[in-house]
């Protein structure tokens, strides 16, 4: 029955005032019509009050026990008032209570108290009735309400004619039957904790008795019977019904609670498990520190499995690592785990419970002597990453329920571990990328920032690093007024190691170029210095040359490097004196192989030195850019400005490679010699 309860309170108060005034004006309403009107007002008061309370009480559904307690207090209050009234008026009782103004006023006030109390009690019972009901049972309750109303009004008929008591009796009996039926809806009891159930058990038996007594008091005792009856026979009917309801309901609650007590503990544990699972799920997404999570997991495992200790180990390269212990020493936990897992060979693919004594028959070497130990694997993507242990010092072995909880926690631990590893990896990756940035920076700084262009020699240098740090290096050395030395080198491999070797090579060239004037001799010396300073699998290719500004004579040697190009009037020639790469061989093979080439440059001739990043640039089909294509660009654009030529080369390279990423450094150094006029 839903009525707009917005104005419920105002309506109830207004009707109460009307009722009060009515009673003041007609203290005794023997006339049937007056009684009828009075009953109507009482009913409406009850109805509006019920409507109002129904709304306000429905907000307190989460605390059924406080609702029960309130009902109990009100019930006791009614019982108390009834008892007082009985003992006060018994003295001068001659069958009827003298009706004077004072008594009438008192009666009215007591009646108000009764109205308010029973409505509150009834509404509370209604809330308890609907509590935790999955299907809507309102039809049962509303039927009961209708019969309550019918009982209320049929009771007035007795006033008109005392013979007309059978409708009331009929309605009254049906109401009681409905009360009994509705009292069995007590599902909410199951959701209480063990402690709350004990509390409810005591409370409900007391309440059942109090309501029973209040009922009998209201009927058996002449005084209180009259007290209400005189005021309103309908109210008396409803009062007795509510008392019966209370008594029966709390009787049922008592027995149901009693039967729920044995399973209370299991229920509590389940609730706790669900709560801790939710906590862990939240933690996994928030905590990045695996150690912290592992601590939470072990402590929750002991709670959920009702065990005495728990610990967590993870598999590492060097065997097992203890990540967290709960209520057990590190040494003991380590001992037990390594005994159970052996030297890493034994594994538990499923949960297993092990009798402790069978495991450690030989000696009791740990302080905590356990009765049984359960172990669950932390499985992720079909791989076991660790184990979650839990142990009991006494009592029963782990049952199916305990294993289920242990498995659940092990699963969460596995997820957390996986997360932690992923995060660690990504942090590591970030760190490496930063280091790469630094290395790339250093590489750039090692290369000369300006080119030594002069009237006789125009110089252009282009360097395009690949994503990974490479080992390309070029440099210029002003040997004296006439001679310009230069080197273009490429360290094998990529990454930090290549960058380090490159820095080393720069140092060697810088110092040796000042002492040695012959390119072949210089490269031979460089090779000698590299011996012992470079790993076997690393090598460096280089081309070293000296150009005489005045004479235009180029002296150069090549150590395994890509051939340099000479472009003279549109004709490209490869300058490829023999010579093996630096660091390939440290015997005299190197000095035997290395040759020197002397070239007389003509006016406007171009010398091109480059790294293999140009001819070995790849496209998406895996094809090389190739030497021919490169040489063609040079020969066709020989007369152009050096920077223009390098732009053209880069343009052609990017056109060729398109979407394919550059995988090696690109270095392009060019010289143009001009005869002094």
């Amino acid at each position: 029955m839903k009525f707009s309860g917005i104005r419920g309170l105002e309506n109830a108060i207004m009707l109460s005032i009307v009722l009060f005034l009515f009673n003041l004006i007609f203290p005794i309403h023997d006339a049937f019509l007056l009684s009828l009107i009075h009953e109507g007002i009482v009913f409406l008061t009850i109805f509006f009050l019920y409507n109002y309370l129904q709304q306000s009480l429905s907000r307190r559904l989460d605390t059924p026990l406080s609702l029960v307690l309130n009902v109990g207090i009100l019930g006791s209050l009614l019982f108390f008032v009834l008892s007082i009234a009985n003992s006060t008026y018994e003295a001068d009782s001659s069958g009827k209570i003298p009706l004077n103004f004072f008594n009438s006023l008192l009666f009215v006030l007591i009646s108000f108290l009764f109205i308010a109390s029973i409505v509150y009690i009834f509404t509370s019972l209604r809330e308890l009735f609907f509590l935790r009901q999955k299907k809507d049972p309102s039809v049962y309750f509303n039927t009961m309400l209708v019969f309550f109303t019918l009982s209320f009004f049929s009771n007035i008929l007795i006033l008109a004619d005392s013979e007309l008591d059978y409708p009331f009796s009929a309605f009254y009996v049906v109401s009681i039957v409905l009360i009994c039926l509705n009292s069995i809806r007590v599902a909410w009891i199951a959701f209480l904790t063990k402690k709350q159930k004990y509390y409810l058990l005591g409370l409900s038996i007391v309440l059942s008795i109090v309501y029973g007594l209040a009922y009998s008091l209201a009927f058996d005792s002449e005084v209180s019977s009259q007290l209400i009856k005189v005021f309103s026979p309908g109210l008396r009917a409803v009062f007795s019904l509510v008392m019966i309801y209370g008594s029966i309901y709390f009787g049922v609650v008592f027995f149901v609670t009693l039967f729920h007590l044995p399973t209370a503990e299991v229920f509590d544990r389940k609730v706790q498990e669900v709560a801790s699972m939710m906590d862990i799920t939240k933690l996994i997404t928030q905590v990045f520190d695996f150690k912290e999570l592992a601590d939470t997991i072990t402590s929750m495992t002991t709670q959920a499995c009702n065990s005495d200790s728990a610990w967590l180990v993870t598999n590492t390269k060097n065997g097992i690592e203890l990540n967290s212990v709960h209520k057990i020493g590190y040494v003991d936990a380590n001992d037990i785990s390594s005994r159970m897992l052996g030297s890493g060979n034994a594994s538990f693919e499923n949960i297993e419970v092990i009798n402790y004594e069978s495991l450690f028959r030989d000696k009791k070497f740990v302080e905590n002597v356990f009765h049984s130990v359960a172990v669950a694997p932390l499985t992720m993507h079909g791989k076991i990453n660790g184990y979650l242990f839990t142990a009991r010092t006494k009592g029963n072995s782990f049952d199916a329920e305990d294993r289920k909880s242990l498995q659940a926690f092990a699963y969460y631990a596995a997820v957390a571990l996986d997360n932690a590893i992923l995060i660690k990896k990504s942090i590591e990756k970030e760190r490496l990328e930063k280091e790469f940035d630094v290395a790339r920076d250093i590489q750039r700084k090692i290369l000369p920032s300006v080119v030594p262009s002069s009237h006789q020699i125009a110089v252009s240098a282009l360097f395009v690093p690949a994503f990974e740090v490479g080992g390309d290096y070029y440099d210029f050395f002003e040997l004296d007024d006439e001679n310009l030395g230069f080197v273009v080198a490429d360290v094998s491999g990529k990454g930090i190691s290549a960058a380090f070797i490159m820095a080393e090579v720069k140092g060697i060239f810088e110092s040796l170029s000042k002492i040695i004037q012959r390119p072949a001799e210089l490269l031979d010396k460089v090779n000698g210095v590299l011996k012992g300073n470079i790993e076997k699998k690393n090598f460096v290719t280089a081309v070293y040359g000296i150009i005489n500004r005045k004479t235009g004579i180029l002296n150069m040697s090549r150590a395994g490097h890509t051939p340099s190009l000479l472009c003279s009037k549109g004709t490209v020639t490869r300058l490829q004196p023999s010579g093996i790469g630096l660091g390939l061989d440290f015997t005299n093979n190197f000095s035997k192989s290395i040759k020197e080439l002397e070239v007389q440059l003509n006016d406007d001739d171009i010398i091109v030195c480059y790294s293999d990043g140009i001819p070995e640039a790849k496209n998406s089909l895996g094809e090389d850019f190739g030497y021919e294509k490169f040489e063609k660009i040079i020969s066709e654009n020989c007369s152009k400005n050096l920077d223009e030529i390098s732009n053209l080369v880069m343009k052609e390279l990017s056109l060729f490679s398109k979407d394919y990423p550059q995988h090696d450094d690109i270095t392009l150094v060019m010289f143009r010699w001009k005869q002094k006029q």
């Binding site: 490429d490 094998s492 491999g493 990529k494 990454g495 790993e535 076997k536 699998k537 690393n538 090598f539 290719t541 150590a559 395994g560 490097h561 890509t562 051939p563 023999s578 010579g579 093996i580 790469g581 390939l584 061989d585 093979n589 035997k592 192989s593 293999d612 895996g622 090389d624």
Partner: protein
């Protein structure tokens, strides 16, 4: 990513490694593993068959340099055979032919081990 495969087989007392695909910085460790196995087995006479190799980078060349010394110290060697022209050019540019023996056919390389006097 480019594929690489190194297969080991024995021809008499000589070990032959068939290399296939792209040998660069990322795939070089695979070839290193094969050489490590040979060193463990004390098999020092090695022929590398390049018939199916499409590409080699400087890091790939480094693998041979890293092991050739060990092989030679133990009366063995690393010899190369069946090399395609583009791959040979890279070895040639670096001057490998001065330091290593190259053969057109695998059996010539194998024969060289048993009869070093010839050719």
């Amino acid at each position: 990513m480019a594929e690489f495969n190194a297969n080991l087989r024995g021809v008499g007392s000589v070990s032959v490694i068939d290399v296939k695909g792209y040998l660069d910085a990322h795939t070089a460790p695979e070839l290193e593993n094969v050489f490590n196995r040979l060193v463990d087995l004390k098999q020092y006479q090695v022929v590398v068959n390049f018939d199916d190799l499409k590409y080699i980078s400087s890091a790939g060349l480094g693998v041979f340099m890293a092991y050739v010394e060990t092989m030679r110290e133990n009366q063995g060697d690393i010899k190369f055979s069946n090399m395609k022209e583009n791959v040979y050019n890279i070895f040639d540019l670096l001057g490998f032919p001065i330091l290593y023996e190259f053969f057109k056919e695998e059996n010539e390389a194998v024969k060289k081990f048993s009869d070093p006097a010839k050719s």
